[in-house]
């Protein structure tokens, strides 16, 4: 799709150049709590993790809480006000290919009709510059879901680490435009593209095109879900989980309608006001998570709703392993 160039220096000079050009640069950086993407003020704040950040960059496109609407009461009358839309040109720098693919999946959800203006406002102004992986995390399994440590899906630019810098590839027009703006940093090269590292956890969960009824009725859910505590930690660190709640918070004069992250693992997620809950126990909820990610989404989106980053496995307090269960599903045991 494009000729490869060699980025002379490391990521830092690119980061500084982007900041200087007026971009808001969001990259893995130092700060309190787990490693995550933050807006950086200078390249000195950049801190590329060995494998991946603990928290994915989705919070910069789809924040944990966001106002959808403001309302003011005037007697029995109501006035509705739109929240301001974010408007900065942004570069996500230092994404791993799995996270870029995750954003492509979020695009499929939020940009579908009727499009979500809030997500779209951020997304349309964001360019994704990914850095391919040279190492594989303990819980990674991108190869099992049709990706690889060098995937280009979702990225605008892919940087592949080589001796002396990065092989730079413009994956999209948007990416090419960005590189051309900073062409001084890049030089032609005939270096060869290294092979991606092996991902041990890569037994592709084939057979997940199985009949839903068969997967749904399988006997292993009770056991597989037994230790699941029903929190939403896995969903919160997942690059593709996008379930949300809409809730009003107001006083006597007015208030706000908020969109907040939610998770299908939580008991109240599908509970009707009548008390009826289609997923009344944890095995049913855990089954929903797995089927949604690996079976239903193959039908609705054409691919799994999982990018194999392994963060859910890292984070789960009781060691639930979505890859392990996906293999179980494909084996039909």
């Amino acid at each position: 799709m494009s000729e490869k160039l060699l980025l002379l220096n490391d990521l830092h000079s690119f980061a500084d150049a982007l900041i200087k050009s007026g971009f808001s640069v969001v990259a893995p950086s130092k700060g309190p709590g787990p490693s995550r993407f933050r807006r950086i003020g200078s390249a000195s704040e950049l801190l590329m993790p060995d494998v991946n950040t603990e928290i994915p960059p989705k919070e910069h496109l789809f924040p944990p809480t966001e106002p959808l609407l403001f309302f003011r009461f005037h007697g029995t009358d109501v006035e509705l006000l739109d929240p301001p839309l974010p408007a900065e040109e942004t570069v996500f720098l230092g994404l791993r290919p799995c996270d870029a693919a995750g954003i492509a999946l979020l695009d499929a959800v939020f940009l579908a009709d009727p499009k979500d203006s809030f997500y779209e406002a951020r997304r349309s102004k964001t360019t994704l510059v990914s850095v391919a992986c040279t190492k594989v995390g303990e819980n990674c399994f991108c190869s099992a879901v049709g990706l690889s440590p060098h995937s280009r899906t979702g990225s605008d630019v892919l940087l592949i680490p080589v001796e002396g810098g990065f092989l730079t590839e413009a994956v999209t027009e948007k990416g090419r435009t960005l590189l051309e703006k900073h062409s001084g940093l890049f030089q032609p090269t005939d270096a060869s593209t290294p092979k991606p590292p092996e991902v041990p956890r890569s037994a592709a969960p084939e057979g997940l095109d199985k009949d839903f009824a068969e997967l749904f009725a399988a006997p292993y859910w009770q056991d597989a879900a037994k230790r699941c505590l029903g929190c939403g930690a896995c969903a919160s660190v997942c690059p593709t989980c996008h379930c949300f709640d809409i809730v009003d918070d107001s006083g006597a004069r007015g208030g706000v309608r908020l969109r907040c992250w939610d998770a299908c693992g939580l008991e109240l997620f599908t509970r009707h006001a009548s008390g009826h809950n289609p997923r009344p126990n944890q095995p049913a909820r855990f089954r929903q998570r797995l089927l949604h990610k690996f079976a239903y989404s193959r039908k609705s989106l054409g691919r799994p709703l999982c990018v194999g980053c392994g963060r859910c496995v890292d984070t789960c307090p009781v060691g639930m392993d979505i890859y392990e269960v996906a293999v179980l599903m494909s084996q039909g045991v």
């Binding site: 609407l69 739109d82 839903f212 009725a217 996008h242 809409i246 107001s250 997620f269 006001a273 289609p278």
Partner: protein, 277 residues
């Protein structure tokens, strides 16, 4: 800015209490342009807002053939419905919609129609039923089976009485055993039982049914017994919803979202779905 989450403002034009816990609201759009241009199809639903309390989902209970207003019927259940119950004529609420798919009424033209509604499930049925009645000569025989727990729980009592008077409709009413009162002249029995007794002909007939999950399940079995092919049996599902248009991830039954791929499903489609509702 186009804000898909922003409702239209509607005024409560009139309130009718159908039963002790079911109320019908007639709503008019405040914005005359919206009032003029708003269209929908029978079977679709909307998200109704009480600002400060939240939103909840009801079908649009009036038919698209009647202009200038929309109606919804709801049962007192939780936070938002309680707040709705406290509202009066003239109050303003929000209306987001129409969402979802609809009954393919054009397919029904020229056929016999069988409408079955249980309790508050009569509300989505009413939309398509009135739509058909407003276009009466497009259909052959129209049969209605309306059931409720008790006489007091029958919704749309006045309309049902009218339907029963019309010579071009067969309208049967039933209450659950024990739900009758001394003046009750209708049937006594659960809907599936009464339906079996009525034994309407399946030939050239489309069935539309809605009601509590257990009633749907058992009635579907009776319809199958009576020879209704599952492609000609329509129902509407409900599920807990938030966004109403397929983004919040909540209302899925297997691979389909009730809000986007439903709420109208044929029995044949339901058979393909896992029992996750």
């Amino acid at each position: 800015m186009e804000n898909a989450y922003k409702p239209h403002l509607v005024t409560i034009e009139s309130i009718r209490d159908e039963t002790p816990d079911v109320r019908t609201l007639r709503l008019a759009f405040r914005d005359p342009e919206v009032a003029e241009s708003f269209t929908f199809r029978a079977g679709q639903f909307a998200e109704y807002s009480v600002f400060g309390e939240g939103e909840c989902v009801f079908c649009i209970a009036s038919p698209p053939t009647r202009h200038g207003y929309v109606e919804c019927s709801f049962k007192l259940m939780g936070k938002v419905t309680s707040a709705l119950r406290d509202m009066e004529v003239g109050d303003v609420i929000g209306f987001r919609g129409p969402y979802g798919n609809w009954f393919p009424i054009e397919e029904f033209f020229g056929h016999n129609m069988l409408f079955i509604g249980g309790g508050i499930g009569m509300a989505p049925v009413r939309s398509i039923l009135l739509n058909c009645l407003d276009l009466r000569d497009q259909f052959r025989e129209i049969t209605i089976l309306n059931g409720a727990r008790s006489v007091a729980d029958i919704v749309y009592k006045e309309e049902v009485a009218e339907w029963q008077k019309r010579p071009d409709i067969t309208c049967v009413c039933t209450v659950d055993p024990g739900g009758e009162d001394p003046s009750w002249t209708g049937e006594i029995g659960f809907i599936p039982t009464v339906l079996e007794k009525m034994a309407p002909s399946a030939e050239d007939t489309y069935a539309v049914l809605c009601g509590p999950p257990i009633m749907i399940k058992l009635t579907l079995q009776v319809l199958e017994k009576l020879g209704f092919p599952p492609e000609r049996v329509y129902t509407t599902l409900e599920n807990k919803m938030k966004c109403g248009f397929g983004k919040c991830g909540r209302c899925n039954v297997g691979p389909v979202y009730v809000c986007k791929d439903g709420p109208v499903f044929t029995a044949a489609q339901l058979q393909q779905l896992p029992p996750d509702f």
